[in-house]
Amino acid sequence: MKSEDGLPGAPVMLPVLIATVEVNMLWYALPLIVAVSLVYAATRHEDMRPILQHALRVGMYIVGFMLVIFVVLWLMLFWVSRPA
């Protein structure tokens, strides 16, 4: 598979490259996910054990939602950058 400029594999690699350039920025989301999950769960329960269990679920929902958005954007990018 070649792109218009003749680089082998470019259509496939371009989305991956673009996605990985800013991937380090995702680490900044981790403390926010933890804090938001814990505080949200704490508004729903009074004891620590259910708070932590609920926070784990909320955290997984947030990460799952982010993954879905990532896959959608990645597919869109792949589709846009495919050879004509």
Binding site: V39, E46, D47
Partner: protein, 215 residues
């Protein structure tokens, strides 16, 4: 389906002076819960909210520029800082921003190496402000970190709104525990009958928060 831990959770929470607790929770995240004797949640709120805010303050600055530059109060023409409307809910930690804004309004140089000081407006050349960075300077110097700092501090303020509500109204329980186990007949009873039954079960008590808060 409620988990085992959620089933054993007490259904009612004693809330000592909800209004004062809400005020304290706004001033210092977690203080309202500490006042109510809900120590574990006080620590959780304080660590999560103050930690998020502090990290945002750290991200939004540099030793030469001063820290906390993403938290500032400014409603001048050309610089209306709307994120502060979210940040201010973090309470007293945002007080330096108000002090610095007052100084800037009187065209005095900022204190504390510019900590939470509003940036100098373009073309503003008052005495003592010559070394203060403009908003463009801050964005250029801090790049993405300035935006991240804004997001972190905004999220901290918004999370504290949840904590304030929790101090005032108690937790909103995720699931109706005992009611689900006992069946749904009780839910079909008239509201007055349900309230009478609930009053009989709870007996004379102080101000409590019912778990049957609508979600």
């Amino acid at each position: 389906m409620a988990t085992e831990a959620e089933r054993t959770e007490p259904g009612r929470v004693e809330l000592k002076d909800p209004l004062l607790a809400a005020l304290l929770a706004w001033l210092i995240p977690g203080l309202g819960h500490l006042y109510q004797g809900r120590t574990a949640k006080a620590v959780l709120y304080a660590v999560c909210i103050l930690g998020t805010f502090a990290y945002g303050v750290y991200l939004g600055g540099r030793s030469d520029l001063g820290y906390g530059r993403a938290v500032y109060f400014s409603f001048r023409p050309g610089d209306r800082r709307l994120p502060f409307l979210c940040q201010v809910w973090a309470g007293l930690p945002t007080l330096p921003a108000l002090i610095q804004a007052n100084l800037a309004q009187r065209r005095k140089p900022p204190l504390w190496n510019g900590f939470m000081a509003p940036p100098r407006l373009e073309g503003e050349n008052a005495a003592g402000l010559a070394n203060s960075p403009t908003l463009n300077d801050l964005n250029k110097a801090l790049s993405t970190r300035f935006e991240l700092a804004t997001v972190y501090t905004m999220v901290a303020g918004l999370l504290n709104i949840l904590a304030i509500y929790d101090a005032w109204g108690g937790p909103v329980f995720a699931e109706k525990k005992e009611e689900d186990e006992e069946g749904q007949e009780a839910a079909k009873q008239p509201r007055g009958e349900r309230k009478r039954v609930a009053d009989e079960q709870s007996g004379p008590a102080g101000e409590t928060h019912s778990e049957a808060t609508p979600s």
